[in-house]
């Protein structure tokens, strides 16, 4: 009997702590960004030797921080429906790899700068925009993270740098390709891009 109660209490505790955690989108994003910065600044991971470990840690951190499926859906918009299940899965995988590769260097560039999280603005019932500012040597760069609540976790589905939305930027590029071509053509372009690295 005692065991049974303990068995019931655990999920309850989990549920409570999860809901409390999900209550603060800004804190979630801040924690994740701080986590990435910590990896980047780790003196033990500097140089060529630490490069691989560093990349793995960053990937783990970005998996925790981003919802790549949601990000992909919103980038493709209604075109997502033209993809088969298999194509959707491949798209998410390729897009994630391209984004991670491309932004790795960019994130590294910001390691010395200070990041201030300023506020959160509700966008809809389950989405929030978390605003931050990177204090640069020559002017500040506003970076907004758009997060969605899923399974009681806030996950990033868009990053807006200086007013430019990441998914919006890719949507305009994909639209040109998908306008006159089948999904397979876009996947092929992405395969080449991801493979070239």
């Amino acid at each position: 009997m005692k065991k049974k109660i303990a068995g019931m209490a655990l999920p309850l505790l989990l549920a409570l702590s999860l809901s409390a955690f999900a209550g603060v989108p800004l804190d979630t994003v801040k924690t994740n960004v701080d986590g990435v910065l910590e990896v980047l600044r780790d003196p033990k991971l500097q140089g060529e030797a630490g490069k691989k470990v560093k990349a793995q840690k960053i990937e783990a951190a970005s998996d925790k921080m981003f919802d790549f499926v949601e990000l992909s859906k919103r980038t493709l918009g209604l075109s997502w429906n033209k993809f088969t299940q298999e194509q959707r899965k491949e798209f998410v995988r390729l897009f994630k790899s391209i984004l991670t590769d491309a932004y790795m260097d960019r994130i590294t560039a910001y390691t010395d700068e200070q990041v201030n999280f300023t506020k959160e603005v509700p966008l809809s019932e389950d989405t929030v925009e978390v605003r931050s500012v990177v204090i640069g040597k020559q002017g500040n760069v506003p970076i907004d993270y758009r997060v969605i609540k899923e399974d009681n976790q806030w996950k990033v589905y868009d990053v807006v740098i200086e007013g430019v939305s990441l998914i919006g930027n890719y949507r305009s590029q994909f639209r040109e390709i998908l306008g006159s071509n089948p999904p397979e053509t876009l996947l092929d372009t992405l395969r080449k891009k991801a493979g070239a690295r």
Partner: protein, 290 residues
Amino acid sequence: MSRRKPGRDRRGRGAPGWALGQALLIVLFLCLFPLHAAADGPDPSAGAGGEPRQLAGEVGPAQGGPEDKASDQYGNVTEEEAGGVGPRIADPLESWNRAMYHVNDKLYFWLLKPAAKGYKYVLPESVRGAIGNFYENIKAPIRIVNNFLQGKPRYAALELARFFINSTMGVGGLSECATTCFGIAGRDTGFGQTLGTYGVGFGFYIVWPVLGPSSPRDTVGWVADLALTPTTYVSSQWISPETVGLYVLDKVNYTSFHLGDYEALKAAAIDPYVAMRDAYVQNRKKALEQ
């Protein structure tokens, strides 16, 4: 914030609603993990026979869970979920623009980037920062006049204050004292944005050699801003060795702080030309809203 709102609603409905929600959550959890519970059950008393059962129990939810979730996650999107279409710009001159994009791309890699790299190597960061501040300060008339024209006299006054403080205490604009000493934040703007607030649209996309992405509206804005920049009047002509030299120094100095930005944008893009065009439109649209 969006979280706070439903929170308030819940409180409005009263404690029973909250308790019901909590109870539902518990039920949901119990339904979701019956196999875990079953597996946990025999575990302590586990002899040799307990093990296979435990294994079976663990395999069950591990397989079923993610798969169910995945098929749901990868399902169709509705129009609402897909999100709106972003801002667009007409591009009737695309073939000219693409050609100019390539010209500017080469100008960057062959001239601007090596120049900025050498410049960065020679001059310490503090000096480059001071030069950047000087250019920023001397462009104050653009911000003062246009904030005023956009019906933001408060920002016009703040920019005026910044200009006075930086020009005096900041030693002729070499130091950004207004912000660092007094925390005065201004608002960057220009005549293109003023036209935008008056309802003038972009027109269409145009890429100028050297100057880069623009539109008829922002081109007019650029010329007007040039007229409000004191350095334009160092010689009697708009285009002279002096004005061009000052422009190049500004550009090289700026680039020395932003090496790698363009490369990153290009590397991340599927079609760099379209990526640049979209970034231009999004950035200008956003600036108008602020």
